[in-house]
Symmetry: C2
Subunit: 213 residues, 2 copies
DNA sequence: TATTGTGAAGCCTTTCACAGCA
DNA sequence: TGCTGTGAAAGGCTTCACAATA
């Protein structure tokens, strides 16, 4: 851990975008990409791209560009996603059940190995009708036990906002190391449990700001 | 438009977080909040909060804090979300149908007034079973016509990645002013159509980076 | 007294220009 | 020749300390 020198937060944020572009390039059988091409695809500029990559080594080829496959591997390594991460989803409403079958997670080594709800009987129906039963929905009472048994490290919260903090506390108590909160309520975690809030309306708010101003 | 002086991008990003906190405070009947309280709820620090608010006026009360309701109104105004925004969702799979009934959109004046798919007959079934029929699912051939008729300004893309750019081009041609892309493929728009990509896996990538490092 | 609003300092990030290399 | 890697400069953002004031 802490294998690389201090990398700017902004760079870390861009790395997963670069990764998306590289996956796209790979799917189009492109072997090599210049910083200018990547910059164009990711809506940044070329020196930025080069500087970002330079933080974790020199592996471009002067006069040519970057090897797509190799670069992809490097980025995955630096982000720490070059291995499987086991995830639990809590709150199996519309959003939660959509995540349970979200294909992009699987592609990227994110594996949902547990799902919880406060009324599991209620939700099993509509999920199995639509998408089969990707993972059994369990009562939230079993959260701690199952999270330990299945080596879950990340919890995703997709409950209504009122329940978000309660669920976060359950996840923290069950020793997850990170929480991704999709519910539109801010949640608090202690320092040793990393947190990311993903508010859909924030993305819209941001879009609207730049549409208006 | 451009009513306020240049506001840092980072500040704009934080504004919708502050808004979420204020909504939360309001629901707990808090009338006044200090910068320290807001900072704590939003995981930033107090001078940051004050500076952010100071960009668009002076409306704190020294010795007291900020009036929650008034502050909320101000932030909504600056973000441009003090009016209804009409949205179309394209691609009614699991994620798309979850968005169609996403309650937080409604609460915040975001109104989904159109939904499109390439096989509308196929998806109507599973949606109506689960959540009623919030809005009729139409064939994507009617996108341009319906978007104009219903005054849609924002398009949300929830198709598989392979279709994302094609759909973006349709939306651009139909004269939307902004696009929110949920599909895990980068999309390009001309300068006059604002774009925001919302990659779920990026949030996880980011979380994992800070869990690992 | 408590808390805001803010200039100035410090820090971090981006951009630039070009040396270095395939 | 073309594109990377990078030091230095510029720019932007955050933090700090404190004056202002309800």
């Amino acid at each position: 851990m802490a294998k690389y020198a201090k990398i700017p937060e902004a760079t870390v944020r861009r790395l997963s975008n670069y990764l998306k572009c590289l996956i796209d390039l790979e799917s189009r059988s492109e072997k090599v990409a210049s910083s200018a091409l990547i910059a164009n695809l990711c809506n940044v500029n070329a020196p930025q791209v080069r500087k970002d990559f330079a933080y974790f080594g020199e592996f471009g080829i002067r006069g040519m560009g970057y090897n797509v496959k190799e670069l992809k591997r490097h980025i995955k390594e630096i982000l720490g996603i070059n291995r499987e991460w086991r995830i639990a989803v809590v709150g199996i409403g519309n959003m939660g059940s959509a995540l349970l079958v979200y294909k992009d997670f699987l592609k990227q080594n994110y594996k949902i190995v547990a799902a919880f709800d406060i009324v599991p009987e209620k939700v099993i129906g509509h999920i199995s009708e639509r998408v089969g039963k990707p993972v059994e929905i369990l009562h939230i009472d079993r959260l701690k036990e199952v999270i330990k048994a299945r080596n879950v490290e990340i919890g995703i919260i997709t409950t209504p906002p009122g329940a978000a903090q309660t669920v976060a506390d359950l996840l923290i108590d069950a020793n997850v190391k990170g929480i991704l909160n999709f519910s539109p309520a801010p949640v608090k975690t202690p320092d040793h449990v990393k947190l990311r809030n993903l508010f859909f309306t924030s993305a819209l708010d941001n879009l609207v700001y730049y549409m208006t101003n």
